[in-house]
């Protein structure tokens, strides 16, 4: 299942209003590393249904969002819980690294 894309408004709602524990991948269409990491999240998603959210931000469509987190590259995985930022992972991230981080946050 593909990841739900967030616009700036959607981002506010999911992260800050709902405080959902989740990971947001900041990505762009032409980035080859992103194309490797997105499927990793897509496959993990069903396993964490109703427990942990998986979202997608396109940095070309929503510039303001990446500027806000002063990101310096894609892909970046940003983790959130209760409206708080819980760190990020950059570059070619493997499945077990994501799962480890999710486990930490859900603890």
């Amino acid at each position: 299942m593909s990841l739900k894309q967030l616009s700036a408004a959607g981002f506010e709602e999911v992260i800050y209003d709902n405080g959902e524990p989740c990971v947001v991948i900041f990505s762009r269409k032409e980035c080859h590393v992103c194309k490797e990491v997105v499927p990793v999240l897509e496959e993990l998603q069903p396993k964490y249904e109703n427990k942990f959210g998986f979202y997608y931000v396109d940095v070309e469509e929503d510039k303001a969002l990446f500027q806000r987190f002063s990101l310096k590259g894609v892909p970046q995985l940003l983790y959130f819980k209760d409206g708080e930022y819980h760190g990020k992972q950059a570059g070619k991230v493997e499945e077990d690294q994501v799962e480890e981080r999710i486990a930490d946050i859900l603890e």
Binding site: H32, K35, E36, P39, K72, V74, P75, K88, A90
Partner: protein
């Protein structure tokens, strides 16, 4: 078996996709296993101007055309990363990270290369925080900032110029003496005259500095040995590539110490039925067009090899009659005379052997398998097992009567 193929191609770049086109067209049941986006590293190239027939095209667009072409010939695609292989049997096995197993009669290694790391302090830690390897992906994040580019090959200089669209200034760190760049002349001239590009010669970088994000680099002058610091917000590394063949370390495939696989003209590795193409093999030119050529060669070689294996299974190993496997040279008169004599003898003596001729010029694998040294030679097989061997005409004729 559902997971059994004639040909498995590991990698979906230009080499792998060209092999897939040839394999599919030859009616081989062909599977391409690719871990990322189809197209491989070609996807990182914004503009390709030297692939014949395409005046100018983007890397991803060209690769889409390659894939579409392969699909018209019925090639199957699987997204996955091959992590294990077993090439010791006639039926070769590849296993993906998720544990899916596939069998094939022949395998083409076409998994390309990845950016080389300098392994200097800060490089890994600050990856994605200012350390970058792909300008298409990340240049935009450095709007109005200072960026350092390490390297002076085509990629470094061309990507460096692309980064100037966003960055305030791009400083290129070059190993060589002033004015010498490794890239093509057209790009070198443009870059050297570019108002936003600066060059630091005879130098390399020792460390990427920064707490959360990149704040600067330590530059070492190789001539004077002196070190200086340059403040910047981004560092792009373009210091060459390394083949992504690490997963084949224990496969038995011979590699050089950098991980490149030596092959012969047919793209054959040291293992029967296993081929290596494009960026995975030892070669002179690493371009889309040359990778495509490799793919075609490997697929045709694989096709002939598979035909040989199938033939042998059907006509020799599963034959009810005893088989005389005659190794000979079809262009040699003596060999032809010998074959005639052998056939005549078989008929006269009523021994009813099945005679199978193996031309040494085209069936090298079989000759190797039976360690044939001289021609003509005859191997006598019963249900696939060697029961006798006869060398030279006289001996053969005696042996059979």
């Amino acid at each position: 078996m559902a997971n059994s193929y004639d040909l498995i191609i590991i990698g979906g770049g230009p080499g792998g996709l060209s092999a897939a086109i040839y394999g599919g067209r030859a009616k081989l049941k062909t599977l391409v296993i690719n871990k990322g986006a189809i197209g491989g590293l070609v996807n990182t190239t914004r503009e390709i101007v030297n692939y014949p027939g395409y005046g100018q095209i983007s890397g991803p667009d060209l690769m889409k055309d390659f894939k579409k072409h392969a699909e018209t010939f019925g090639v199957e695609f699987l997204k996955g990363e091959v992590t294990q292989t077993n090439f010791s049997q006639t039926e070769k096995k590849v296993v993906t990270k998720k544990g899916q197993e596939f069998l094939a009669k022949a395998v083409i290694v076409a998994c390309g290369s990845e950016p080389r790391l300098l392994n200097i302090p800060g490089e890994k830690r600050l990856r994605g925080m200012g350390v970058a390897y792909c300008a298409t992906c990340d240049a935009e994040f450095f709007e109005g900032e200072d960026v350092v580019v390490v390297g002076s090959g085509d990629q470094a200089i061309e990507e460096g110029m692309f980064i100037t669209k966003f960055a305030r200034k791009v400083t290129v760190i070059v190993l060589h003496d002033e004015g010498i760049l490794d890239c093509n002349k057209v790009s070198a001239e443009k870059a050297l005259n570019h108002e936003k590009m600066e060059f630091i010669w005879n130098s390399t970088i020792e460390e990427v500095v920064g707490k959360e994000n990149v704040e600067g680099v330590k530059i070492k002058n190789l001539k004077t040995g002196s070190t200086s610091e340059l403040s910047c917000q981004g560092v792009f590394f373009f210091v060459g590539m390394v083949p992504s063949t690490g997963y084949l370390k224990d496969s038995g495939i011979a590699m050089d110490k950098r991980g490149y696989i030596p092959v012969n003209e047919l793209m054959e590795t040291n293992l029967e039925g296993v081929y290596a193409v494009g960026d995975n093999r030892v070669k002179y030119l690493r371009q889309v067009v040359s990778a495509a050529g490799d793919g075609a060669t490997a697929a045709v070689a694989a096709e002939r090899y598979i035909e040989e294996v199938n033939d042998f299974n059907n006509n020799v190993l599963q034959s009810d009659k005893k088989v005389l496997l005659l190794f000979f040279n079809a262009q040699d008169n003596e060999s032809l005379k010998y074959r005639a004599a052998l056939e005549e003898l078989n008929e006269k003596s009523g021994t009813d052997y099945k005679i199978l001729c193996v031309d040494m010029a085209t069936k090298k694998n079989l000759a190797e398998k039976y360690a044939i040294k001289t021609i003509p030679s005859v191997v006598v097989l019963e249900k696939g097992t060697e029961i006798n061997r006869l060398e030279g005409l006289e001996e053969s004729l005696e042996g059979l009567t």
